[in-house]
């Protein structure tokens, strides 16, 4: 049960008891949140279905490069968080701290790219009120950005706290819960990005 057993050399099919990483309640939150997003994706798809030409025309005004790069940024950030949790399990607190900091740097990079992207749209005179496509574009990416901001705070706290982290299961579970949330932010973008930018 104690997490430090699996750290040194994990045997892939070891008869270790199955364990949900982190905090069960956070998983409940994550599934509720993901369901809320799924509802919004469905709503977008339905409105797109009723007016495909207008949506497609507006989609061409998006820059998929921004979206693609942001996907790469979030995936890399998630990787850092996974490695940070592994470092914590191996009692390498300093290493964990730097990995969390790197993940946070990715989070900032994501926000910066989003700021550029929004700026580009505003310059072109496009806003949430331009049409239905851009209403969804700004609101969905905006709500996601809100999640990123919360996630950055979580990452910052984990980075600061991890220097004094202990390898106790209860302490580790809190870090894993933070990691679960950050991976969800990544996960939502993985679906949000193709729906808004790539569907044609």
């Amino acid at each position: 049960m104690s997490p430090d057993i699996e750290a040194p050399s994990s045997r892939p099919r070891s008869p270790e008891p199955r364990r949900l990483p982190g905090v069960e309640g956070v998983w409940a939150f994550v599934f509720a949140d993901m369901t809320m997003f799924a509802v919004m994706f469905g709503s977008f798809m339905w409105d797109r279905h009723r007016n495909p030409l207008a949506f497609e025309e507006s989609r061409h005004l998006l820059n998929a490069t921004f979206g693609g790069i942001n996907t790469l940024i979030l995936l890399t950030s998630s990787l850092f968080v996974v490695l940070a949790i592994e470092a914590l399990k191996a009692e390498r607190a300093l290493r964990a701290r730097w990995l969390f900091a790197l993940a946070l740097a990715c989070g900032f990079a994501f926000m910066l790219a989003k700021a550029f992207e929004y700026g580009e749209k505003f310059q072109a005179g496009i806003s949430m009120l331009s049409n239905d496509f851009f209403m969804y574009y700004f609101i969905l990416t905006g709500i996601h950005l809100g999640h990123v901001i919360v996630g950055n705070v979580v990452l910052a706290v984990m980075s600061i706290k991890s220097a004094s982290a202990t390898n106790q299961a209860s302490s580790l579970a809190n870090y894993e819960a933070g990691a679960t949330y950050w991976h969800m932010v990544d996960l939502l973008w993985i679906l949000l990005f193709p729906i808004l930018y790539l569907l044609r």
């Binding site: 364990r19 799924a38 469905g42 693609g68 993985i190």
Partner: protein, 89 residues
């Protein structure tokens, strides 16, 4: 110096697959070479695989009790399936 274990290697491999598939979706299937229908289905298929990979190996569901894994897979199939279904309508 850095202790590399199989878990780390596995995660790095997953990350590499995720990165490459993102590049393929973003800058590959967007080319006019592919018809809109083909490109969309390919992109959504790749997205579904990416979602499963993130859930299983980043979020750690591969070591979680079965019920949680099923819940994760259900969400992925419901969300991605709904998008594809409405697209095909």
């Amino acid at each position: 110096m850095i202790p590399v274990n199989t878990t780390t290697l596995q995660v790095l491999a997953v990350w590499l697959v995720l990165m490459l598939s993102t590049v393929l979706s973003t800058w590959g299937f967007s080319r006019p070479l592919f018809s809109p229908g083909t490109a969309t289905l390919a992109v959504m298929g790749i997205a579904a695989i990416k979602l499963i990979l993130v859930m299983e190996y980043f979020m750690g569901l591969h070591q979680a009790p079965r019920a949680w894994r099923v819940a994760g897979a259900l969400w992925v199939s419901a969300a991605a399936g709904m998008v594809v279904l409405i697209y095909l309508l």
